[in-house]
Symmetry: C2
Subunit: 268 residues, 2 copies
């Protein structure tokens, strides 16, 4: 995916350009960016030697880096100071049946903005899509992370069948199953009960939200999932939500209620 030419219209005035990079980030380090990033810095943002950008790699916090030079193929940068320290994030996976192209793009972007730590595509009985473009999902996730002030980018897992995923599911990770049919508790009530008596902002817990394909889960899938000890079926209200909307709504509520919804964005 090409970086959007419009990206920079979407910045607040004065907002710094943030790039997710692979190398270690530390005081006085110099790093080099590849051709794609260079093209973006030169021709979209029109940056030049002496300009500053923010860098993060998911491990070493965020750093202010000065552009030393841009060639046609590469950009050299020198790290100046750490602007934010890395910190723990709520551990929330999104397990989702692959949906059609535009909607899976929306899903990857919004899920990243809403702080998921991993995206796990899973093939269910009614899943129409037979393959998932993981590079495309990763590109959307990276761009959303850069824009959203995150210090991490979600991991994108290889797609697998629902059965296979459940066989290796980490039993301590609570799986909230978004279920439009069958028995389910309202998401708010389920979260209140699951976290009763504990610090709801305890970041050492592992959670996941699962949503189905366009046609929903089959009755037999809902039945089998409902019997698993780590699964809690939850309801999202009286309207039948599209697959992407259901995922976004559940992630937003989870972050607001038991994730980091009480934190504020970093001030610039």
């Amino acid at each position: 995916m090409n970086r959007s030419r419009n990206r920079d219209e979407e910045r607040e005035p004065g907002q710094v350009t943030r790039l997710f990079v692979a190398p270690a980030l530390a005081a006085d380090a110099e790093i080099e960016l590849d051709e794609e990033a260079t093209h973006y810095l030169r021709h979209v943002l029109r940056l030049e030697a002496g300009d500053r950008v923010g860098l993060f790699n998911g491990r070493d916090g965020e750093w202010s880096a000065e552009i030393l030079g841009l060639s046609k193929r590469a950009t050299r940068l020198a790290l100046r100071e750490q602007t934010r320290a890395q910190k723990a994030e709520p551990d929330l996976w999104l397990v989702f049946a692959p949906i059609k192209r535009q909607r899976i793009d929306i899903l990857a972007e919004k899920a990243t903005e809403l702080g998921v730590t991993a995206l796990l595509p899973v093939f269910t009985q009614r899943t129409v899509m037979t393959r998932v473009n993981l590079d495309r999902l990763a590109a959307h996730a990276k761009e959303a992370a850069e824009q959203t002030e995150r210090l991490t980018v979600p991991v994108i897992r290889e797609p697998q069948s629902l059965d296979k995923m459940l066989q290796t599911w980490p039993q301590k990770r609570r799986l909230l199953l978004c279920a439009e049919a069958g028995p389910a508790r309202p998401l708010v009530d389920a979260l209140a009960e699951l976290t009763r008596g504990r610090d709801v902002r305890n970041r050492n817990e592992s959670w996941a939200i699962m949503t189905g394909p366009e046609g929903g889960f089959t009755p037999s899938e809902l039945d089998a999932l409902g019997k698993l000890p780590f699964v809690t079926p939850v309801g999202l209200g009286p309207r039948i939500l599209r697959a992407d909307t259901a995922a976004i709504a559940a992630l937003a509520c989870w972050q607001a209620l038991v994730g980091d919804g009480r934190d504020r964005p970093p001030s610039r």
Copy 2:
């Protein structure tokens, strides 16, 4: 906007086609649909005389109707029985600064799925868009309402300036201002406080959620809004959300916490 050819792939097996129509719906009534609806029924859904569809108009509940005949230009239907009664909905407006085309489409669709009763475009200081295609927004809202089991379609208001809108704001309607900067309480805490001691599912209350354009509200807008007695600035967590994501997240949390999030979809 043309109806999507893919719409019907997105139905659950057995799900009925639902259409939003203008005429009154009552026992034994016959109604006629226009050319666009007829094209959709004939050539996309491939329905014929004798087939059933669901109809709703925002006032008379949902009715099962039998197709009496389809010509090239019109469809005649006879109403058979009421399948759901009209009922009150939570009264929630979305006030939003117009954003770019693809994102405003997403916003109209998702806001409708999440049950807003009105969409109010408002021009703020950093709004880049200078006009809003209201027909396009209305078409997205109608299609989303048809798909999502709603019995209403949100009203789309004429765009106006923020100042003008505030001058005529109904003082009893609480406006939750999604604010990424400046003082703001977490949405969950603000809602808990605003509804303390009352039945949170009281449907007679009026609420609104407001989101800014791509570049956010200006400090002076946030300052002025924060002084209004009907405004409560709210925070949506530590990540800077895109304008459409912020609206969707806030709407989802509002419905889950003080709207109809505890209801279940109608069973078919």
